[in-house]
């Protein structure tokens, strides 16, 4: 499709070809040292992250189909972009997700069951980022989190917690958003603020080419990684289905940002294999042939070929598949066992400090429910 050639740039960084062969020439060369520094265990972990995430996604989608979840936004097809970039973050970094970054959450140490709770309707968030790998809450208003991330990064600079030259201590911020969000004013304003204050921040744009039913060509007539350049923020495009490119380019750009280099944009050029959410029907707006082409570029299949070429055997892959199945089964049990929250939750924590209206209405509801003699 014309839409895809528009956004797939010749300068795109790809370290693994779709048939799993490591690229060494051209734009890839600069990033190879990052890959050479990875152990077999590290690479195996990348695969495990992607497979478990996909299995998790499938289970959550099934739970939604069975009426156990209100909604599910699948990340199918985007595992490489997410896993590579998340594995590139350092312990002290802060992560501001949109609402599809399930594998990033998992890698940063958040029990993704917390995300399931949101989609089941028992909470709107409810974790403290500081206790879960600095992984902040999902944000459903598109692009809003780009400003939060930028403000946070401005605070990191004010604290003097970045730019000292110690990559193991200097902090950086990464914010995830999609191609649709790039049209939101908040993303442009975040570019302006990040550039003005030289925030230590990486804007990680997953261009999955579809904003629900609208193709990326409606959001932009230029490749999206070029969008930030006019704001004074360097942009780079990577093959978003290549976990090694995602890892290496994010690693470099986060380290550049934490070293005083200012903000950066990475566009991960990928494809949303599934629906936007379970409420959506992609057959109404896109051609099955294009989807099939993208399935051939699948990030997990590609990486499996690479690992096999390095000696990984059937037993390794079978073991990970079993782990993923166990993870999914456990998730299902925990989901269906989730209790309905107490009605006090409506009022608690709307404010941090006591509030007379909350107290009055909470008491009223308690009295009202009690008036039914326990039958409410």
């Amino acid at each position: 499709m014309a839409d895809e050639t528009l956004t797939n740039d010749a300068s795109m960084v790809q370290l693994l070809s779709p048939d799993g062969v490591l690229q060494t020439g051209g734009v890839a060369a600069e990033y190879l040292p990052y890959i050479e520094a990875l152990s077999d265990d590290d690479l195996g972990q990348f695969h495990r992250d992607m497979v478990v995430t996909r299995r998790f996604d499938l289970e959550a989608t099934n739970l939604q189909r069975q009426g156990q979840l209100a909604l599910w936004p699948p990340s199918h097809g985007q595992e490489a972009a997410q896993v590579g970039s998340a594995r590139a973050t350092r312990r002290q970094d802060h992560i501001f997700p949109s609402y599809r970054e399930h594998s990033v959450a998992m890698i940063r140490g958040l029990d993704v069951f917390e995300i399931v709770k949101i989609m089941r309707g028992t909470t709107n968030g409810g974790w403290n980022p500081a206790d879960h790998g600095n992984f902040h809450l999902y944000t459903l208003v598109l692009g809003s989190q780009a400003l939060h991330a930028t403000g946070y990064a401005m605070g990191v600079t004010l604290d003097g917690a970045t730019g000292t030259g110690d990559v193991d201590r200097d902090e950086a911020v990464i914010v995830y958003f999609g191609d649709g969000s790039t049209s939101q004013g908040d993303v442009s304003e975040a570019f302006v603020f990040a550039a003005s204050f030289q925030a230590p921040e990486v804007f990680f744009l997953q261009n999955n080419q579809w904003a629900i039913s609208v193709p990326v060509s409606v959001q932009s007539r230029i490749p999206l990684f070029q969008r930030s350049i006019g704001f004074g923020i360097p942009g780079i495009q990577i093959d978003g289905n290549d976990v090694l490119a995602s890892y290496a380019v994010t690693r470099k750009n986060l380290d550049d940002a934490r070293s005083g280099g200012g903000p950066r944009l990475i566009e991960a050029f990928t494809y949303r294999i599934g629906a936007h959410t379970t409420s959506d029907d992609p057959t109404k707006y896109r051609e099955s042939g294009v989807v099939a082409d993208w399935v051939l570029k699948d990030p997990i299949t590609r990486f499996e070929k690479f690992l096999r070429s390095r000696g990984a055997d059937d037993a390794f892959f079978a073991r990970i598949d079993t782990e993923a199945d166990d993870f999914a089964a456990d998730l299902r049990h925990r989901t269906v066992d989730l209790p309905i929250p107490d009605s006090d939750k409506i009022f608690d924590n709307v404010y941090s400090e006591p509030h007379p209206v909350m107290a009055e209405q909470k008491q009223w509801l308690a009295d009202y429910e009690a008036s039914f003699g326990g039958e409410a």
């Binding site: 809003s144 990191v156 004010l158 603020f193 608690d348 924590n349």
Partner: protein
């Protein structure tokens, strides 16, 4: 708790006459001195000191890391303030004029107001948004509005509005000390009016309303610049033999109803006044609540005196559009006629 006697503390010898704008400046300076996490951010607040000079001299004193000019983007100001608050700062944002708050409406209502709840109390949002509001300055469109009701409708926010320099000095510090987001509506037509500021007093609770003139026949209620109009009306009424009690709301969300209900029960007649259009307004909310809480004491329906339900007109018509003492007294007469 309500303090009705403002003269009790003046004998400490710490009282100074200041215009409201200087009192705010002094309050902000004190907040910056008291807590290194307090930041001031907004458009033109640095070397210029803000278009109303509220922050004059503060950047020179506290440096560009504490008091800084932002890009010209209101959503960006509030959105980055949210991030700074997540980092442990206490940002105080200046929105240059009331009518320019709307580009930030999304960040204020969908993010700032909900993030404490979304985090289930694990994170607080100590952000103050200062908004010079209201008319009577002969300004062009978007520079004279009273948008309080849009925000009062949003759970998770607190709204306050001082009417005097003394309240301005204390309330801005209390707003900054609050762990919840506070919208701080500054009556810009009162910026250059002087009043006593008692630096030695202790602050009264931020969310308390206050009887500022006692009377027996009709209660009139308002906030910000309207309080002065109500006091004028009370003065005029007194010369004609009518005793009016004036209540300064001070807090628009939550509203401190105890003094309001007590006054309504005493006088039986209530007029609520504001510069905002009356439809679905804070005045409407107060009228409804008084009816619920003081029904058997009322001798007349609670009346509203507000701006008309139209866009703010060109400045040469603003004195007709905004309620003045005569319009308040017209409503007082109607209340007394029941």
């Amino acid at each position: 708790m309500t303090i009705t006697d403002t003269t009790a503390t003046t004998d400490i010898g710490t009282t100074t006459e200041l215009p409201l704008v200087k009192a705010l400046n002094a309050g902000l300076k004190k907040a910056l001195q008291d807590d290194p996490k307090v930041l001031l951010m907004g458009e033109d607040i640095g070397p210029l000191g803000g278009v109303f000079r509220v922050t004059e001299g503060l950047q020179a004193e506290f440096g560009t890391n504490r008091v800084f000019d932002t890009p010209l983007a209101e959503s960006g100001i509030v959105g980055t303030a949210v991030g700074l608050a997540m980092r442990g700062y206490r940002p105080v944002c200046e929105i240059q004029f009331d009518g320019f708050i709307f580009p930030a409406f999304d960040q204020i209502t969908t993010q700032l107001a909900k993030l404490t709840s979304r985090h289930e109390g694990l994170l607080s949002m100590p952000v103050v948004i200062r908004v010079p509001y209201g008319g009577h300055i002969g300004a062009v469109e978007h520079h004279q509005e009273s948008p309080e009701a849009y925000f009062a409708h949003t759970p998770g926010l607190r709204l306050v509005s001082p009417s005097t320099p003394n309240d301005a000095y204390w309330m801005i510090q209390e707003a900054i000390a609050s762990n919840d987001p506070v919208l701080f509506f500054e009556p810009k037509s009162r910026y250059w009016h002087k009043g006593p500021v008692d630096f030695g007093a202790s602050a009264v609770p931020l969310h308390s309303s206050r009887v500022v003139r006692t009377g027996t026949e009709v209660t009139v209620i308002g906030h910000g610049a309207m309080v002065n109009v109500l006091l004028q009306a009370a003065e005029l009424a007194e010369s004609e033999g009518t005793s009016i009690e004036v209540i300064d709301l001070r807090s628009l969300s939550p509203i401190d109803y105890a003094p309001i209900v007590a006054s309504a029960q005493k006088t039986g007649r209530v007029v609520v006044a504001s510069e905002a259009p009356g439809f679905a307004s804070i005045s409407s909310e107060i009228a409804a609540t008084i009816t619920e809480k003081a029904f058997y004491s009322l001798e007349a329906p609670v009346l509203r005196v507000t701006a008309f339900d139209t866009p703010f007109p060109p400045a040469k018509l603003e004195s007709t559009y905004l309620p003045d003492a005569d319009r308040v007294l017209e409503a007082v007469d109607r209340a007394l006629a029941y």
